[in-house]
């Protein structure tokens, strides 16, 4: 391979570029990114970056003096992939020819229809988004957070600690019901009430009205919640529009790929939030939007790309993700969604410090730690060992 192009310059793209060099690829390496910034870390954008505790320099993912001998094409979007000519078309009409392509274009925040451009209404995905939100939060006032995922829960937490008046609107029974399961999600969501956040669950959002100077969130039941700031955290869509007509197969919008990242087109692999990897534990292709997956999977995909798909790929580590809310460390490993039971094995939800194990047919498939770091690490290792021995956690 003479040229490899990595399309996407965030965590997964950077780790793909690093893996290429680490695995001995010494040809031309081009990294294409829509944003103008060098790779930066997104998790702090909903937390320490908003409070000002972490600044932009501290978000950089590249080490000081790190040189991957790559050409960085930043500030321009990929708009097409010509698989026959092996060329990536860019929004500024340039084209990058490459023998190997790593698709790492990530995902974009979903928006509420009609809310674009309303003053005080934010989504949170990019550094630009975070700068705008930070400026508004610094002014204080009433914040309404829409959406019960990690972005919503963390922004609610950060803003409450900053002293804003926070209402958190969740369509489901409780925030984080998907990733934690309803029972443990309910226990963890007590943190919001503990810190004076009003939790409004089980009601959808009709839209945001922007009459007058400040926005209001209009609920399905007709209620209207006046706000100074609104944060919409209702998930993200994979950035795969540019692959339309390329022959790269998609699966529910994500790039469909095998357990090694190989797509339907030879010489093209996919990593990160845009990739729907085959997941043996579920027997389906799934997009998993976790930071650790975006960091760990590129090494596997790059090995497959460089070997033409003949590199053996071991069983992946169990999924791992974390969230920091109100100074409490919430950590999850494995797949809570596969469990048929969950039990608290240490500590107590009432103390907001506990460890819970999720099981399926008696076998551990996931673990949740709430301010139980050491014990959690032990369980996470056990799940990894079980997975390496052919289990399915």
């Amino acid at each position: 391979m003479k040229t490899v192009a990595v399309v996407g310059a965030s965590l997964a793209g950077l780790f793909a570029a690093r893996s290429l060099r680490k695995q001995g690829y010494d040809g031309r390496l081009v990294v294409i990114g829509e944003e103008t910034q060098r790779p930066y870390d997104r998790p702090p954008l909903s937390k320490e970056f908003l409070t000002g505790k972490v600044d932009e320099d501290e978000l950089a993912l590249e080490a000081d003096g790190e040189d991957l001998d790559a050409e960085w094409v930043l500030g321009t979007r990929a708009v097409g992939l010509e698989t026959r000519e092996r060329a990536i078309r860019l929004a500024d009409d340039r084209a990058v020819h490459a023998d190997g392509v790593v698709i790492a274009t990530g995902a974009a925040a979903r928006r509420l229809p009609g809310s674009d451009g309303l003053p005080g209404v934010h989504v949170l995905r990019t550094l630009d988004d975070a700068r705008g939100l930070r400026d508004d939060l610094t002014r204080g006032g009433r914040l309404v957070v829409v959406g019960g995922g990690f972005v919503g829960a963390e922004v609610a937490s950060t803003a409450a600690v900053m002293g804003l008046d926070v209402t958190f609107v969740v369509a489901g029974p409780t925030p984080l019901a998907g990733p934690l399961g309803p029972e443990m999600a309910a226990a963890v969501s007590e943190l919001h009430a503990d810190h004076g956040v009003r939790l409004v669950c089980g009601v959808g959002v009709r839209g945001v009205s922007g009459k007058g100077a400040s926005p209001a969130v209009v609920l399905d039941d007709g209620r209207s919640l006046p706000a100074d700031i609104v944060v919409v955290g209702i998930g993200a869509n994979p950035c795969t529009d540019w692959l339309e007509g390329s022959g790269v197969a998609l699966d529910n919008g994500g790039v469909r790929c095998g357990a090694d990242g190989i797509t339907s087109v030879p010489g093209v692999v996919a990593v990160g939030d845009c990739a729907a990897w085959y997941d043996p534990a579920f027997g389906t292709h799934r997009r998993v939007e976790h930071w650790t997956g975006a960091k760990e999977r590129p090494a596997v995909a790059v090995a497959a790309l460089l070997s033409g798909g003949t590199a053996p790929s071991g069983p992946p580590r169990p999924h791992y993700f974390w969230s920091d809310q109100y100074g409490v460390k919430i950590q999850v490993a494995g797949h809570a969604a596969r469990a048929d039971s969950v039990t608290v094995e240490d500590g107590s939800p009432a103390d907001r410090s506990f460890l819970a194990v999720y099981r399926r047919a008696g076998e551990p498939v996931a673990v949740l730690g709430v301010d139980r770091t050491k014990l959690f690490t032990r369980w996470r290792r056990q799940l990894a060992t079980a997975a390496a021995q052919g289990g399915t956690a």
Binding site: D41, E48, K53, E58, D64, Y320, W322, K329, T373, K374
Partner: protein, 121 residues
Amino acid sequence: MIPACRLADIPRGESYRLETDPPVAVFHTEDGEVYAIDDTCTHQDASLSDGWLEGCEVECPLHASKFNLRTGTVDAPPARLPVRTHQVLIEDGTVYVALSDAPPNLPPSCVAARLTAGGVA
């Protein structure tokens, strides 16, 4: 030299946290080596002795930064600054640590917490 613990108190693959200021983590690797590094991750306030020890690397229990136990260097982000390494001596079954006199790379949150608490960062 500070006596940290008995070597027998740290099985291979385990760690011991020495409550100095800042605290120090002593690791006993699967290969039988003993290393001491600063216990606080340079990225955020997390205890590396709670982390995942694999070979000669420890992974931060929170955000998965990896540090080399021999050199203290960052093997995987989000951390960007190295941890200090401390000299280890084992005598008569006791682990002794000679603290580095280099300034520690404490995370910003940690420094901020100390400042608000009125302490000296």
